[in-house]
């Protein structure tokens, strides 16, 4: 399909052009971390960063989004849907995060009923993926069979070199975006990308058969140990690209206000507490078990794939190193050295 190339010095002009029609969301250097944010004049875009601190899932599942306005009075209630319609460009998503979006798509678009808010964002977003050129020390996507230089599911795949960015359309939507950029992009049909072998960290994991092995281990004594260091801070769920639990709340007063949904976390005690006070997951043990079992057993039981992409964010963020690699190992998913 269509290939275009642009030298790095001209990228700011491309950002300016692409952001004219709607939000252009890309990796931005924000103090010590990289985050996906909307571009504006002067934004410090950082395409060389491997992984953003927080996953870009919020492009499709925002931290908070209002979906209705209400007005009430004289016993009447008026509910009005709120919907955004503008096109969005998501630029610079790495293959692991795209794989995670594929996992979210199953939950939000394939499971009946589809989530209209999520689907609306997916449909009006053009996704420009960026192949990885080197892993960071926490990357372990190789364990999940992800090719860090390919991006199935993206509309455009970008390859960054020292001097330029090569953009290859993978879908008609991607082709349209490249064509629309006009003369900002040069013809790249002659450009070749040397296939790179990217070797991510080897933490000694053995994932084969793990979901099946965990099937009957809900009451395994290992859970009495794993959770102990957890602080219930929820950062793992916050940064994780495959976590999708959410809350629905009202904001306003009796006469008018809005209903929104926002990220929530199964790590929090209030998450499952019922109105009468009963809590089926009363302590950290049950909550830690829920999160890891969901990733490693419940999700795979339905979708035949472990809900982790090896992005390494929980390894970087967990203050007590209770990350998924530690959990997998504690649950027996560790290679045994052959002598």
């Amino acid at each position: 399909m269509l290939k275009k190339v642009i030298t790095r010095d001209k990228l700011p002009a491309l950002w300016a052009h692409l952001s004219e029609q709607g939000p252009l969301i890309l990796p931005v250097q924000d103090g010590p971390v990289v985050l996906f944010k909307p571009w504006q004049e002067g934004t410090a875009v950082n395409l060389d960063a491997v992984n953003s601190a927080v996953s870009p899932k919020d492009i499709f599942l925002p931290r908070e989004e209002t979906f209705l306005h209400y007005r009430s009075g004289n016993q009447q209630l008026e509910l009005k849907a709120v919907a955004e319609e503008e096109p969005v460009i998501a630029f610079g998503l790495h293959p692991c995060d795209l794989k995670a979006i594929e996992m979210l798509d199953r939950v939000f678009m394939e499971q009946d009923p589809p989530d209209a808010l999520y689907r609306n964002r997916r449909e009006r977003t053009t996704v420009v993926a960026l192949a990885c050129s080197e892993p960071d020390p926490f990357c372990f996507c190789n364990d999940f069979g992800i090719d860090p230089t390919a991006a199935p599911g993206a509309d455009i795949l970008g390859h960054l070199t020292d001097s330029s960015l090569l953009l290859e359309a993978l879908t008609d939507k991607g082709k349209a975006l490249l064509e629309q950029a006009g003369e900002l992009l040069e013809d790249g049909s002659g450009e070749q990308v040397e296939k790179q072998e990217i070797k991510t960290a080897d933490f000694g994991l053995k994932l084969e058969g793990l979901p099946a092995d965990l099937k009957n281990r809900f009451d395994d004594p290992v859970w009495d140990e794993i959770y102990k260091s957890c602080l219930s801070c929820g950062v793992c769920t916050y940064v994780c690209p495959t976590c999708y639990c959410f809350d629905v709340e009202d904001f306003g007063h009796a006469a008018e206000g809005e209903r929104f949904r926002c990220w929530d976390s199964c790590m929090y005690g209030h998450f499952t507490v019922m109105a009468g006070g009963h809590n089926p997951r009363p302590d950290r043990k049950e909550r830690v078990r829920q999160r890891f079992m969901h990733k490693l057993q419940y999700y795979p039981e339905v979708y035949d794939e472990i809900a982790c992409v090896g992005c390494g964010r929980c390894l970087r963020s967990c203050p007590v190193n209770l990350d998924i690699v530690q959990a997998i190992k504690a649950l027996g998913g560790e290679k045994v050295e052959q002598r």
Binding site: F67, Y70, Q111, C245, F246, F271
Partner: protein
């Protein structure tokens, strides 16, 4: 937007309110054209009172009642409290129906044993009404219902007058302790189940009530040789979306809001006991 947002409620009007017990009211709710949506017994709906929010409630009316939905609601939380403060004529938000409902077809031809405790009668009542409306499809109907005190029994005129008069139907009421105005059976629901010694032959038991009651009812039914497949219950969990996504009611591979809330004991035994 490309399709309807499942989180978007419609408005409905609270037609009238019955005070059932000191902390339970029954609301009759209708949309602009009667039933807000079709449903099956055992299904639930999200009710909302902005700005307090939304919560899930089982529908207590039978789908054969075509002019409104009924909800028997115990005042235990913020949304249930707000619904208790609603006055007739007031509009609320509603969306649904959610969940699988009771297996009304599989139950055909069987004798039915309903075992309810307190507000747990609410989801059972929808099925009871459905079975009365399709009386020929089901065998003998036993209804065992109990509460802490006579004042805590809900739907009093139905359980005392209407239901016992239905063909081939027996109603057993019990309260936890002696009360001056109570001449009926005294004792906990599970021990009454044992006492009445229901036989499992061609019978399905459907139970709902406080978790502690359900626990001992299941033990009692097991002792009476009911197979796990013959025992049906309906779970209650915190829910926010109702459509199997928000994560609260996740049990292993299922979401109670979507794949439940009705499970037979065999299905439940295969799931993590985290409800």
């Amino acid at each position: 937007m490309s399709s309807a947002n499942p989180l978007m409620p419609q408005t409905a009007t609270v037609l009238d309110i019955t005070v059932e017990t000191p902390d339970i009211k029954t609301l009759r709710v209708a949309g602009s054209e009667g039933l807000p949506f079709d449903f099956m017994p055992g299904q639930c709906a999200m009710l909302s009172v902005p700005p307090v929010g939304e919560a899930i409630f089982s529908i207590t009316s039978s789908p054969t009642c075509r002019d409104c939905l009924e909800f028997s609601i115990k005042d235990v939380g913020s949304v249930s409290g707000a619904l208790h403060a609603v006055s007739p004529g007031q509009q609320i938000g509603i969306r649904g129906p959610y969940g699988n409902g009771f297996p009304v077809d599989e139950m055909k031809g069987k004798d039915l044993l309903f075992i309810g405790g307190g507000i747990g009668l609410a989801p059972l009542r929808s099925l009871i009404g459905y079975c009365f409306a399709h009386r020929g499809d089901y065998g003998h109907i036993d209804i065992l219902y109990g509460a802490r005190s006579p004042a805590d029994l809900i739907r009093k005129s139905e359980i005392k007058e209407n239901w016992p008069e239905q063909p081939d139907t027996s109603v057993y009421l019990t309260v936890d302790a002696e009360f001056p105005d109570w001449s009926g059976h005294v004792g906990f629901v599970p021990s009454y189940v044992t006492e009445l010694a229901f036989t499992p032959e061609n019978r399905v038991a459907i139970t709902c009530g406080p978790p502690i009651m359900i626990k001992f009812v299941l033990q009692a039914l097991d002792k009476l040789n009911f197979a796990p497949e013959q025992v049906i219950t309906t779970l209650e969990m915190r829910m926010k979306c109702g459509v199997g996504k928000c994560g609260r009611c996740n049990l292993g591979p299922v979401y109670v809001c979507k794949d439940g809330p009705v499970f037979n004991l065999a299905q439940l035994n295969a799931l993590p006991a985290e409800y």
